[in-house]
């Protein structure tokens, strides 16, 4: 296949060709007939027209993305260049575990028509690298590696390979006859150039997740609208916020940098402005020349260097390019762009993307060394300093165990550039070695961890947080890929276990939460009453939710529209407990999930958090992130990650529906948790729908500060307490023709509950209790009839009647006497409060009247404390002894009523 020299970081120039026609009046976008691409300093111009098959820049330069160009369009200013494409997948982009579905060994140049919808099919036109030839499905595979052609035979819809619908391909191929490829650098593009590195090598191993790259594409696409000046400031910012930059940003920044937009970079470039063009030309020529000898050289080298530096592959720039955070990435890259004009081959070496180039570098060493003395500069020195660890390796060629030496220990070499170049070659060869090894044992796991370790140990400026960031970034990306994401291509990334250990070293990693299972299976309900009881249990999920049709419809419409549009929004739902708020939302989500399974609406993720089920409001972040991406991090970190996730655009992003139950528990003094929850949906790329639930209708007004309440918006809904008819309907629908209740009994329950609270849970509980009472009252469990009024009455009594009166009646004589003394003392004082001492005097008198032996003060206190423990009395702290104040917790009338029979 063609190797497109994106790694050269030469500036490509894109120009619209043909007459623009208005494509969308509303969006003011224009369509274009074709796009001319040229490379600065090159005569060759590639023309891309819709219908052609194109290669799109990704991180994996050897295997750029393939797509069919459907449409070219831009905005009025002609600055923004966008393209609509139909994606094709390479086999390496298909998840590892799905590859087996193919059922045969894949052809290295085979691609698959992508039917999934997870990918954003709008790309930045400036990421187009060139065109590629495509062969319709009926052609047999030619010999591998002979032509620069891709083959489409099957389609991939994220679940299975299907035979490609000929109609699909027909209208593509009919409209645009496949053109032979016109690579940017014709000489280098010859696929025969590097049979060693290519061949049937399966390219799954160090491939970064493709989504990262696609995202990168869309990042640059949004940035493309900005003016150049603004861009540069952005870039400056991104340099500072090194640790937090996502891989996509890095990529886009890289590209922009290579286009030399940054003033700083440009300034450096202008150090040798005159030579700029010539250098590039010279380079091309050089590359051209060396192409023939390349194969020989590489073979030779691979045999001589062998495995001595296996770990060297950890420096493989494909990894560092996409994974390492910006701060670390930035510096070497800058050097690249600097050296680009001066010593391009060195720059290539630095970028280090393919064996071809490195070998060329070696061969063009003579050229380099001749150039070097002419332009010595401080910058170059610094560039060398960076590479010193690598040079150290070179110096001690045979030491396997210490491939990376600390900078201080590294001996300086006089012929730095020479060493450098040979190092590059060695590295590349090691990469090849590894690849070969991989083929031989077919296991890519074995070297991945060591690679990772090595990399992290060698990158001294890399901080832990950065490390976390990028690996997390990866997982985030993985998640967004939807269904096939979980087991996607085995991308070498930081082992999640390591990270888990780092954050929560105390939790055993492999602990799976579960309750032990029972030895004897649970018994099924035997008779009608048991059946009814099982159905009436709150936990049993009803077939439908009666009496909430309107609310259901409103919420359904709200969420559905947001999912369809790919936008975000908030909704606030209030209602007293037991009115079916959470149940309704779950029902909505169930329906929506069904709809998305039927492909009626796009897929979405549903996440649920509950303010009561967390120990601290900030845990909300942790839980959301964990449910989104399965990673465990601290609250602050999770907040940062979520912030990034929801504010950055990413293709293949599906809508997230977040249910926040018990919202009021997320209140903090600064309200930043609430603020974030409501702010994220307003972001352009968040695609987040937040449904919040709380009990009080005026919660936004009561506890939220203005900026939070304003973001919550006015989409509110209130669940009214159920009326008695609704409650009756709920019970009836739950019982579902199980005849266990008398009609009147049901009505009594529902009326009683509706009058008190309208809580459906209460209603169901009472009914359940009534069935129990009915069962107990019957002489034999099987002979129990319907639940009657009397049973329901008893259940209601049990649940609603106050027990105070019974408690007073059952109290001992002295306790009753003490209560009377309390009332007597209250009446005497005219207050509702008295000290124990005062009451005790009364108590003494009363017991004399009653003809009882007066009790001692200690005993009186004990009596008082007992009443206080039951909360018939309210007492002060007992250390006040006899000075503690006493109040009644029941009304005086109740006490007197309860004591009446005793008096008589």
């Amino acid at each position: 296949m063609v190797r497109y020299f994106t790694r050269l970081r030469v500036r490509r120039i894109y120009k619209w060709g043909g007459r623009p026609y208005i494509f969308d009046r509303k969006l003011k976008s224009y369509g274009f007939e074709y796009l001319n691409m040229s490379v600065e300093g090159q005569e060759a111009v590639t023309t891309v027209t819709p219908g052609q098959y194109i290669l799109i820049e990704g991180n994996d330069d050897e295997y750029p993305f393939v797509a069919k160009l459907l449409k070219l369009f831009g905005d009025e200013s002609h600055k923004q260049k966008k393209a609509l494409v139909q994606w094709f997948l390479r086999l390496s982009e298909v998840p590892q575990n799905k590859k087996l579905l193919l059922g045969r060994s894949p052809h290295p140049q085979e691609i698959f028509y992508y039917l999934g919808r997870a990918c954003d099919d709008e790309i930045n036109a400036e990421s187009i690298l060139g065109t590629v030839q495509h062969v319709p499905e009926d052609t047999p595979f030619p010999e591998p590696g002979t032509k620069d052609t891709l083959y489409v035979k099957l389609s991939w819809d994220t679940k299975a390979f299907n035979v490609l619908d000929p109609v699909l391909m027909q209208d593509t191929s009919a409209s645009t006859p496949p053109k032979p490829a016109l690579p940017l650098f014709t000489p280098c593009a010859s696929p025969t150039a590097t049979p060693v590195s290519r061949g049937p090598v399966h390219h799954a191993l160090p491939t970064p997740d493709p989504t990262v790259m696609r995202r990168a594409g869309s990042v640059s696409d949004t940035r493309a609208t900005m003016s150049a000046g603004k861009r540069s400031t952005l870039e400056a910012e991104s340099i500072h916020s090194a640790s937090k930059l996502s891989a996509s940003k890095i990529l886009s920044a890289k590209r922009r940098g290579s286009a030399a937009d940054t003033p700083g970079v440009r300034k450096k470039l202008q150090l040798s402005p005159g030579k700029k063009m010539t250098r590039a030309d010279v380079l091309c020529e050089l590359l051209d020349e060396e192409m023939e000898s390349e194969k020989v050289v590489s073979l030779k080298l691979s045999s001589s260097v062998s495995h001595s530096l296996q770990h060297g592959c950890s420096l493989s720039p494909m990894r560092s390019g996409c994974k390492t955070p910006n701060g670390q990435r930035r510096f070497p890259w800058k050097l690249t762009s600097i050296s680009l004009d001066r010593l391009s081959p060195t720059a290539l070496g630095e970028q280090d993307f393919s064996s071809t180039l490195q070998i060329e570098c070696l061969d063009s060493y003579a050229f380099l060394s001749s150039q070097r003395p002419t332009t010595p500069s401080r910058r170059k020195e610094s560039a060398m300093a960076i590479r010193e660890p690598a040079l150290g390796v070179l110096a001690e060629e045979d030491s396997e165990d210490s491939p990376m030496q600390p900078i201080a220990l590294t001996p300086r070499s006089k012929r730095k550039s020479a060493q450098l170049v040979s190092l590059r070659i060695r590295k590349q060869l090691n990469l090849l070695d590894n690849t070969q090894e991989l083929i031989s044992d077919g296991d890519d796991d074995c070297f991945v961890p060591s690679k990772k370790e090595l990399q992290s140990s060698s990158n001294e400026e890399k901080t832990d947080s950065e490390e976390e960031t990028d690996s997390e970034e990866e997982t985030v990306v993985k998640k967004t890929r939807g269904r096939n994401c979980k087991t996607s291509v085995r991308t070498p990334h930081k082992t999640p276990s390591k990270k888990v250990c780092m954050v929560t070293p105390s939790t055993p990693r492999c602990a799976t939460p579960c309750i032990p299972s029972r030895t004897v299976p649970a018994r099924q309900p035997g008779n009608i009453l048991e059946e009814a009881r099982a159905r009436l249990h709150v936990s049993s999920v009803p077939e439908s939710l009666p009496c909430r049709e309107q609310e259901f419809q409103d919420i359904y419409n709200f969420v559905e529209s947001k999912v369809m549009d790919g936008t975000g929004g908030c909704m606030y739902i209030s209602g007293v407990p037991g009115t079916g708020k959470t149940a309704t939302i779950h029902e909505v989500i169930r329906c929506l999930q069904h709809a998305s399974d039927m492909d009626e609406i796009p897929t979405f993720r549903f996440i649920e958090i509950n303010g009561m089920k967390m120990t601290d409001p900030h845990q909300a972040y942790v839980q959301i992130l964990q449910k989104l991406t399965d990673q465990k991090v601290t609250a602050d970190h999770a907040a940062a990650l979520l912030e990034k996730r929801f504010s950055n655009p990413a293709p293949k992003k599906e809508t997230t529906v977040l249910l926040v139950d018990e919202l009021d528990l997320l209140w903090t003094r600064k309200q930043n948790v609430m603020y974030n929850l409501f702010d994220w949906p307003t972001r352009r790329h968040a695609r987040l729908v937040v449904l919040t639930i709380a009990n009080t209708m005026d919660l936004p007004e009561r506890i939220m500060i203005n900026r939070v309440a304003s973001r919550l918006g006015l989409t509110r809904m209130s669940f009214q307490p159920y009326s008695f008819k609704q409650l009756q309907q709920i019970i009836t629908s739950r019982l579902n023709k199980v005849k266990a209740f008398e009609e009147d009994a049901l009505q009594l329950v529902s009326r009683k509950v509706a009058a008190l609270s309208g809580d459906a849970r209460r209603c169901l509980d009472i009914c359940r209790r009534a069935t129990e009472i009915c069962e107990h009252s019957a002489s034999h469990p099987s002979s129990a009839g319907l639940v009657k009024m009397s049973h329901v009455m008893e259940a209601l009594d049990e649940m609603f009647s106050s027990s105070y009166i019974t408690a007073i009646r059952c109290a001992s004589l002295q306790e009753q006497l003490f209560l009377r003394a309390v009332i007597a003392e209250f009446r005497r004082l005219g207050l509702e409060e008295a000290t124990f001492q005062q009451v005790f005097v009364q108590h003494r008198t009363l017991s004399r009247v009653e003809g009882l032996q007066p009790i001692s003060l200690s005993e009186g206190l004990a009596v008082c404390q007992r009443l206080g423990a039951c909360r018939l009395l309210l007492l002060e702290a007992s250390r006040l002894d006899m000075l503690q104040r006493v109040r009644l917790n029941v009304s005086q009338d109740d006490v007197l009523y309860a004591l009446k029979p005793v008096r008589d």
């Binding site: 579960c514 407990p577 027990s803």
Partner: protein, 434 residues
């Protein structure tokens, strides 16, 4: 023991007595479960049925057992659990988790304890690992993974349930009750509390999730039943080795319970409190007076025991005071009479005391002020008087406001019993005004 069994009928009286004391002490102190809880049959049935359904059918439930202290809540629950675990297919299936509000004072500790008792996978040895948030998430995840038919039912027994309601946000209660109301692992949440108003402590959403089942244990025990209970508690079991002594003892208990003096003592006890714990204390004291020379409980023993039980805790302190301290207390009593319970300070008491010395005293000579202050401080240390100001540092000792923690009746009683109390002091105490 085997030796005794051979003899069977005849054992030295001392041996018998020690046997009796052992049996009865175990009954009174070790909270042995009775064969069947008395006077709470319906509650017993209700609770047993409820827990059986959780254990057998996997039905989640929540219930509160409410009753005053000593009314037998724990006893009822333990009886039910014992009975439940006797059922064959329940035995291995339920996971009881015991929590106590006095031990698990916040949710963090409670969660660790639950995890430990459930022996979930984040338990290593006897330690629970992970932060509070992790533990909560872990437990909830574990409970969520279970389902009605396949996972073992968990019985959460929350002693002092009302104290759990004071935990922050009632997180634990919400989550336990929420699990009991949703299709997750079957749980039964059993709360034990003596507060009648416990439901008012629950937050509304926690309350809504609670099934509102309350089992009230309010003993409506009559005095006849109470007496029967005393008799049965003191009687020896049938399998007592020495039959002769067994008969003698049980007869003596029978006659004891018919004695008028004993009935009066028990009546006053019954009037004061119906719970069995205080009764057990009384019987314990009586039992301890039994010896080889006096191999039966006599009515006077019970009377004496009751006296010990009902004694005023401050009376003995008053008996140990010096005359000077007693005088000060009398002065305070007069001040209380004059100012109707308003607080006083040392200076006032001292003035009152000096007045008494000048006018009425014959036997008591004058004390120096520092000596009087010392006596005053001693009274404060004995907590017979209590300072009313919270900040003691600011005010001089002499002017700190105090209140007397004694009732007039207590003072008068103490004076009557005080050995060799000077008559002029007694007179001063009894006179209306100082």
């Amino acid at each position: 023991m085997s030796k005794r069994k051979v003899k069977e009928t005849h054992m030295p009286v001392g041996e018998c007595i020690s046997q009796v004391q052992m049996i009865l002490r175990e009954r009174f102190c070790h909270q042995r479960l009775p064969e069947k809880p008395v006077g709470m049959e319906s509650q017993h049935k209700h609770l047993l049925e409820l827990l059986r359904r959780t254990a057998v059918h996997g039905e989640s439930n929540s219930v509160l057992i409410v009753g005053p202290r000593g009314s037998g809540k724990t006893m009822l629950l333990n009886c039910v659990l014992r009975e439940l675990l006797e059922v064959k297919d329940v035995n291995k299936n339920v996971l009881p988790v015991h929590l106590n509000g006095l031990l698990q004072t916040d949710d963090r500790i409670a969660l660790k304890e639950i995890t430990r008792q459930l022996n979930l996978e984040n338990v290593v040895g006897d330690k629970v690992f992970g932060s509070f948030a992790e533990n909560l998430a872990f437990l909830l995840e574990a409970l969520k993974k279970g389902d009605r038919s396949s996972s073992r039912p968990v019985l959460f027994i929350l002693d002092e349930f009302d104290l759990f309601a004071h935990h922050k946000n009632q997180t634990l209660l919400y989550n336990l009750l929420d699990v009991s109301q949703s299709a997750q692992a079957p749980v039964a949440v059993i709360g034990l509390t003596c507060r009648l108003d416990v439901l008012e402590l629950l937050e509304k959403r926690v309350k809504s999730r609670f099934s509102h089942r309350q089992i009230h244990l309010l003993s409506s025990l009559s005095f006849i039943q109470y007496l029967d209970n005393v008799r049965s508690q003191l009687s020896l079991p049938q399998d007592f080795p020495d039959t002769k002594f067994y008969d003698e003892w049980n007869d003596s208990i029978k006659t004891l319970c018919e004695d008028q003096l004993v009935v009066d003592v028990l009546q006053s006890h019954y009037n004061s409190s119906k719970d069995f714990r205080s009764l057990h204390l009384l019987l314990m004291l009586a039992l301890s007076r039994v010896s080889a020379s006096k191999p039966a409980i006599k009515p006077t023993d019970l009377l004496e025991a009751s006296r010990v039980c009902m004694v005023d805790s401050k009376a003995n302190i008053l008996h140990g005071l010096s005359i000077l301290e007693l005088c000060l207390i009398i002065a305070m009593k007069h001040l209380n009479d004059i100012y109707e319970g308003e607080p006083f300070n040392f200076q006032m008491v001292h003035n009152e005391f000096k007045k008494f010395l000048q006018r009425k005293s014959h036997s008591i000579h004058n004390f120096d002020k520092p000596v009087v202050i010392k006596a005053f401080e001693h009274l404060q240390q004995l907590e017979l008087i209590k300072s009313m100001d919270s900040s003691t540092a600011k005010i001089q000792k002499e002017y700190q406001l105090m209140k007397l923690l004694l009732d007039h009746s207590q003072i008068m009683e103490a004076l009557q019993k005080y050995p060799q109390c000077p008559t002029d002091v007694k007179q001063w105490a009894m006179s209306a005004f100082g």
